[in-house]
Symmetry: C2
């Protein structure tokens, strides 16, 4: 089923991305997703069990991409501090180039914790851990202060980037460009934690 017509599955996911981003999960109508995807309402239920299931699948798909992409990009740097810079830049570029995904991650990621008490967003934690690992590495190499707690630092760094994204996603006219913001944020952070 999800094998026969993978193309249709993707089309629904993409339609959902667009509709969820625009209206938010609860205001989005399944029929609108169907229309956007060019299929009948009922067809959605051949590919997904519930409306919830669409959102969850969407997350999984998109986060997988994001995660792989980020890993790839980070790999090219060897210096942990450079990796942090790279992370910031890639993250913000991702936001700029994929507003829809950004908006969903922004808004629905929060929602989802409540929305599905059981659904644990593993991929998101993996993403956070990319930062954690870089910090660990930096500590081992003596580039980062010993007293830094990676569990806090990774969240602080992600949070900083994420809040900046929110600003972009919500405002019409971006006030700062990606490069400036990513430089500033990684500079605060690197100066803040380096030895």
């Amino acid at each position: 089923m999800r094998q026969k017509n993978q193309e249709k599955y993707k089309r629904i996911i993409d339609a959902a991305t667009k509709v969820f981003a625009e209206k938010g999960f609860y205001k989005a109508k399944v029929s609108e997703i169907a229309q956007q995807a060019g299929v009948a309402d009922g067809t959605i239920y051949i590919y997904f069990d519930h409306k919830d299931d669409i959102l969850i699948s969407l997350f999984e798909e998109k986060m997988k991409e994001v995660l792989n992409n980020m890993k790839e990009q980070i790999r090219s740097e060897t210096d942990p501090l450079k990796k942090i810079e790279k992370f910031a830049l890639v993250h913000l570029k991702l936001i700029r180039d994929n507003k829809d995904i950004a908006e969903i991650i922004q808004v629905e990621l929060r929602q989802s914790s409540k929305f599905m008490k059981n659904y644990h967003n593993t991929k998101f934690f993996e993403y956070l851990d990319l930062i954690g690992d870089i910090i660990e590495e930096g500590k081992e190499r003596g580039l980062i202060r010993d007293d830094i707690l990676p569990g806090i630092a990774k969240r602080a760094f992600f949070g900083a980037l994420d809040e900046m994204s929110r600003f972009w996603v919500l405002s019409k006219k971006p006030k700062y460009d990606i490069e400036t913001a990513s430089e500033q944020i990684s500079s605060f952070f690197i100066n803040g934690i380096r030895r």
Copy 2:
């Protein structure tokens, strides 16, 4: 009306705080808020126009408190860098002591942009600006680097704190205590931006 029985108005707001925090805005039933507040369903509509209106009023009320409280606490410090430390501590304490409010600000603040395209959360921007102002002051006094852009820095700092809050709000067993987290975060940030 909102004058006659201000006590009932508050009771509804408090009930809504509890219910929204637990279920999220969309899954929260007006009838449940009514029950929680000990009034009839219809009574809600004497005090509020729509369900939306409850959420917005709730924001206004709570943010007013938060804002005043923060201003008060900050005032006692004179050194901008100390103010930043204080801000972090007060913010995180607030989260710890008001999980319900925290959860709503966390989740619904995001939602609200989409949820009411027109509603501009002034109070939230005021809150952000508290940080912006501290940074400006620090720059003027030569304590903070000239190249720091307060518009970015304030968001980065808030984002860091906010992401940490999210972690607490969502996880059962807080891994770090407020004091540690606030020290770490303000230390990254202060070292990151100081001259």
